[in-house]
């Protein structure tokens, strides 16, 4: 049961960590602090959806909203220039944000516990939209449409966490830990039970499991992961406004997750990378306003031709290269790796 060193070497999360650590060595500050950090944050938020789908076969439009609950909690408990909320020491603010986001996730799971498929999507979308209208129309607590501005990550041991490299390091650590947690869950009794729940819920209940509790727990874990992304996203953009929890944000997360491949944790990060790159380059190729057209077209191509998203494409490529490579090795007398 303990992973062999060789297996550990093949562990996808290790590759995410290594690639993440190597990236600042080859890329400039803009790429590290602005592009890559954003990929990791969006990836972490999308991972919460990937987890729900890959483990329990659940879908949710509410993950951006859940991340937003964490973001707003953090904003209201941190020093800000909008003058709302009440500043508390930052570890407390971050802790409260994660707790509130997790509770929001549990609430989404509890309210939607009897729905599945398209109805589950609709009910989670409805909750997400409700949150959007709450924060955009309430000026006393949430400062309405303008949101809460002037937010900063704290200084840690005299190091400014908003500087490109430290912030990137923080986002990388959060992404790697979240992905590792999702991969770990898949290898635990709980992960197996979620999988069983997706396959045959009647059977799972007949064996003695509360299907209600299992589902709510899955949404709670997804809520925690989304909250981690939500906290980082708030620090990244320096503000929290209704734009972070609107329908567009909800759709974007779904697009990222499907684009990357919703059946593997790393798909979320591949999808986020594609999304952020397209967002940055669509502006220079065609008009900035046409970004949605580009991402939409890419999305359609992926959905039509690569069922498991970008990660599925990579797996297919590997499967095709491997026999070829083994063939080459056999001819040259070398040992295949």
């Amino acid at each position: 049961m303990t992973p062999m060193p060789q297996q550990l070497l093949r562990h996808p999360v290790l590759w995410l960590a290594l690639a993440g650590l190597a990236f600042p060595l080859i890329a400039g500050e803009f790429w590290v602090g602005t592009v890559a950090a954003r990929v990791l944050i969006i990836g972490t938020m999308a991972l919460s959806l990937t987890f729900l789908t890959s483990s329990a076969g659940l879908v949710s439009f509410a993950q951006a909203g859940v991340a937003g609950v964490a973001g707003y909690t953090l904003a209201l408990l941190s020093p800000n220039i909008t003058g709302v909320g009440m500043a508390v020491p930052w570890p407390l603010a971050v802790g409260a944000a994660l707790v509130m986001g997790t509770l929001a996730g549990l609430l989404v799971g509890w309210v939607s516990v009897r729905s599945s498929g398209i109805y589950l999507l609709m009910i989670t979308l409805a909750m997400s939209v409700s949150l959007f209208y709450l924060v955009s129309q309430n000026t006393e607590i949430f400062n309405g449409f303008d949101g809460i501005n002037g937010l900063k990550p704290p200084e840690l041991f005299g190091m400014d966490l908003r500087a490109p490299i430290p912030f990137y390091g923080m986002a990388l650590a959060a992404a790697v830990l979240s992905a590792a947690a999702v991969m770990h869950l898949d290898r635990t009794p709980f992960g197996l039970q979620l999988h069983a729940l997706r396959n045959a819920p009647r059977r799972v209940a007949a064996l003695g499991f509360s299907t209600t509790l299992l589902r709510i727990a899955a949404f709670g874990i997804a809520g925690l992961i989304a909250s981690v992304g939500g906290v980082l996203n708030t620090w990244f953009s320096g503000q929290m406004s209704p734009g972070a929890v609107d329908v567009h944000a909800a759709v974007n997360l779904l697009v990222v997750a499907v684009l990357g491949g919703i059946r593997h944790p790393l798909g979320a990060f591949l999808g986020a990378a594609a999304f952020v790159l397209l967002e940055n380059y669509a502006a220079s190729v065609i008009d900035r306003e046409r970004f949605n057209l580009v991402i939409g077209a890419v999305f359609i191509v992926i959905v039509l031709f690569a069922k498991d998203g970008l990660i599925g494409l990579i797996q297919q490529l590997r499967a095709q290269i491997k026999p070829a490579w083994t063939g080459v090795c056999a001819k040259s007398g070398r040992k295949a790796v």
């Binding site: 049961m1 303990t2 009794p189 039970q193 059977r203 209940a205 007949a206």
Partner: protein
């Protein structure tokens, strides 16, 4: 009946809108009894069955397990009390291995139900899953995805999963459905070999299977009980012969 029944269904009725699927059925199972539920299609057997396991609510009447009323409990609560069940069409986790299926089955009653540590931390459960596989000769296909098993093996796994939780009452909805004659024979042997600490209630269309396994038989028609007794009573009952056995005997 000298010993108090392990399962007592009292005047159970189940309606779906205007349709009365089960109409005032009473049933009592003594501990250790093998009880078959017979009847033509649409007689209400499966509905009654689902009511005992908790999937379908009673419209009126009551169900008691070991003397306490369970008619308001949810399916998983009844399962934890010791009521195991199988399904008419196999409900397994098809893309997972036999071992994984049995691990889930073992954990349903004894836990952990939210285990977050790696499998190495749950050796007794892992071991129990292997033991229950061996009981059905499934230990040779332990690592195989369930979807790749033969139909007969899938039916056996269906029963192995229900037994993995060590139930006191086992409900089986057509355990031999769709099996080959050899498969049926093997299944009957396995079920006969089970200890009398397990009480069984099963729906079965195959008369040979039902008559060779059951101590007592209840025959239903149009949602009501039309005959009840030992296999020889049932064989001799003229109404049953006409209704169920047809010209076969």
């Amino acid at each position: 009946m000298s010993t108090p029944p392990i399962l007592a269904v009292r005047e159970a009725s189940i309606s779906f809108g205007a349709v009365r699927a089960v109409n005032g059925v009473s049933l009592a199972l003594a501990p250790g009894e093998r009880h078959a539920l017979l009847g033509t299609n649409g007689a209400g057997k499966t509905t009654l069955f689902n009511a005992i396991s908790g999937e379908v609510p009673l419209t009126s009447g009551g169900i008691a397990f070991k003397g306490s009323d369970i008619s308001r409990l949810r399916p998983h609560q009844r399962a934890r009390l010791g009521i195991g069940r199988t399904f008419q069409t196999s409900l397994t986790f098809a893309d997972r291995s036999v071992e994984d299926n049995l691990r889930v089955a073992v954990m349903g009653r004894r836990g952990p139900r939210f285990g977050l540590r790696p499998w190495g931390a749950y050796r007794p459960q892992v071991e129990a899953a292997r033991v229950s596989a061996a009981r059905f000769g499934l230990d040779e296909v332990l690592a195989q995805p369930v979807g790749t098993l033969s139909y007969g093996q899938q039916r056996e796994l269906e029963i192995a999963m229900a037994l993995a939780g060590e139930p006191e009452l086992l409900l089986m909805d057509e355990p031999a459905a769709g099996m080959s004659p050899q498969g049926r024979g093997r299944l009957v042997e396995i079920l006969r070999g089970l200890p009398r600490s397990i009480t069984m209630l099963f729906v079965e269309h195959d008369m040979d299977v039902a008559l060779s396994l059951a101590d007592r038989i209840t025959v239903m028609r149009d949602g009501a009980v039309v005959a009840a007794g030992t296999p020889s009573d049932i064989r001799a009952n003229p109404l049953v012969r006409e209704l169920y056995l047809g010209g076969k005997h």
